[in-house]
């Protein structure tokens, strides 16, 4: 680990011919936290994770996980020994039973915890003798999660971990993630589900069209982002409010809505200058920040 960072990438890029799927990604994921990796479909979240795990080669740049270089095949094996990963599609070996899958996987990891395995088997109600191919998507997801959670890895990388789970399963998952984090495991997960991200993440990285458009702690987001709704007797021009730290300005009739990542006070002062009759400042939900970042990029 370097500088307390478990994942660090420098100008990581991936191109397919002329198409640049990932553009100069600089990621810095701190230890002992929960980082959410957000993005629309096709934003290159899974591509990034596959590059981190050595399944794909970067076209440019490099990175480290737990101090080991991701582009070096030998160091990549060391990385995979120390981390746990649950893939996006949760497909496992159809020809194995649940029990065979667990026995097979546990043999690769010295940090496997049989007691935790037993506990999770009971909690997830997984049938040991059932073939993987006959499991539902939700059950398969739970088996994939069990094989990651039965270990004590330094880093958990989860690609859309809640996909296929029912609301009860999602709740269980979030509880386990928080518990694992409190035990010292760093968690890096990609998701579309902003509500669940908002509940557990400490740090948010938003990827859009292969570019990192936001990297911030959730606390900073909550403190700095404000929605300022204004009503004027005579609506001023939008550009009068496009000052530093203003992400978005929208007008509708006599109303103006300003999204500020900082400088909310300056907006209020300017609103007074234009004789605003109503000024309403509210905290911003992560969903709004996400949509704004996606829209502006």
């Amino acid at each position: 680990m370097t500088n307390g960072l478990v994942i660090q990438t420098e100008r990581l890029g991936k191109s397919y011919g002329r198409i640049e799927a990932l553009k100069e990604l600089n990621l810095s994921i701190r230890a002992h936290g929960i980082t959410a990796f957000l993005g629309l479909n096709g934003a290159a979240k899974s591509t990034t994770i596959k590059i981190l795990l050595g399944m794909m080669r970067p076209s440019s740049g490099d990175g480290t996980i737990l101090g080991q270089r991701i582009s070096d095949p030998i160091e990549s094996v060391r990385i995979r020994r120390k981390i746990a990963y649950v893939s996006e599609n949760k497909r496992l070996y159809d020809y194995m039973t649940v029990d065979q899958m667990i026995r097979f996987t546990s043999a690769f990891y010295p940090d496997w915890r049989p007691s935790e395995e037993q506990r999770l088997l009971r909690q997830f109600k997984l049938p040991r003798d059932r073939k993987v191919k006959s499991l539902s998507k939700g059950m398969r997801t739970k088996l994939g999660l069990l094989m990651a959670f039965a270990r004590q890895p330094e880093l958990l990388i989860l690609d859309e971990p809640s996909e296929g789970l029912d609301p009860g399963g999602i709740e269980e998952l979030l509880e386990i993630l928080v518990a694992r984090c409190s035990e010292g495991t760093t968690i890096f997960f990609s998701s579309h589900q902003i509500a669940e991200v908002e509940r557990i993440a400490d740090q948010i990285c938003i990827l859009h069209a292969g570019r990192l458009v936001l990297d911030s702690s959730v606390d900073d987001l909550r403190e700095s982002y404000r929605r300022i709704d204004l009503i004027f007797p005579s609506i001023p021009a939008e550009h009068d409010f496009r000052i530093a730290g203003i992400e978005d300005v929208r007008t509708r009739g006599h109303q103006m809505s300003v999204l500020a990542s900082r400088n909310a006070e300056a907006v209020v002062a300017r609103a007074h200058d234009f004789h605003a009759t109503s000024i309403d400042i509210t905290p911003v939900a992560l969903r709004d920040v996400f949509l704004q970042k996606v829209k502006e990029n």
């Binding site: 596959k50 795990l53 399944m55 794909m56 030998i74 995979r80 020994r81 497909r91 070996y93």
Partner: protein, 238 residues
């Protein structure tokens, strides 16, 4: 545990192939013996075993191609390659285990049917020659490993669970056709495996010394193809 995975992945294809080949080869020898309604010399039984071997060559080639389908590209097609590639093992090791498991199965698929054919002919009191059987096995495995390697290479280059074995079969047929002329026949691995070139018309026994050099050349080419397969998987993006 990678051996365990490789075994579980291929065991049904392997066991079905083994049972099928043993049954067909045994039946071929049994039928060949029973077909004789008159007193014949030992050369006829040698011919029956030769015919049994021809069936074995055909079935064995089919079986190894089916057994070697899948692998990481097959897993990519069904979505489980992410799980495999996240294991703390190198791709080289994954391939070596897969190839070694396949080789062991290929050897069993060659040896057990011969034991079965021997047992069947023994039950009926017919002549048996271990050296002849050994010679047939060297020919089968010497030339057959080339087709085994082609199957591994196809499964390492071509995505799609069933496309790779189809291409591999195509390569087998193309090789057989391309090298079927009188001038080229001596280089044909298919001809080599069948032992037809080495069979005496009078005794129906394999009459020449084992062609070690040709077997070594086929195995060398097979080794090269397997090395290319490993490299292809190491370089592949998933």
């Amino acid at each position: 545990m990678l051996w365990y995975k490789a075994w579980l992945e291929t065991r049904s294809r392997f066991l079905i192939s083994l049972i099928g080949i043993v049954a067909l080869c045994s039946a071929s020898v049994l039928y060949g013996d029973r077909n004789v309604a008159y007193e014949v010399g030992s050369e006829y039984y040698n011919f029956v075993l030769f015919e049994g071997h021809q069936l074995l060559v055909l079935m064995w080639t089919l079986a190894v191609t089916l057994i070697m389908m899948g692998g990481l590209l097959g897993e990519k097609a069904n979505g489980s390659s992410s799980f495999t590639l996240a294991l703390p093992v190198s791709r080289r090791r994954l391939m070596v285990v897969r190839i070694c498991t396949g080789l062991a199965q290929a050897f069993v698929l060659a040896i057990v049917p011969w034991i079965a054919m021997f047992s069947v002919s023994g039950i009926f009191g017919k002549t048996r020659s271990v050296s002849q059987a050994g010679c047939y096995l060297v020919l089968l495995l010497g030339g057959g490993l080339l087709f085994f390697a082609v199957a591994v290479l196809a499964s390492s280059l071509i995505s799609g669970v069933y496309t790779a074995p189809a291409v591999s079969f195509g390569a087998v047929i193309a090789t057989a056709v391309a090298l079927s002329s009188a001038a080229m026949r001596r280089y044909s691995p298919w001809e080599f495996m069948s032992g037809a070139r080495y069979r005496s018309e009078q005794t129906n026994l394999l009459s020449c010394p084992i062609p070690w050099l040709q077997a070594a050349i086929y195995m060398l080419v097979a080794g090269l193809l397997l090395a290319i397969s490993v490299k292809a998987i190491q370089r592949r993006e998933f």
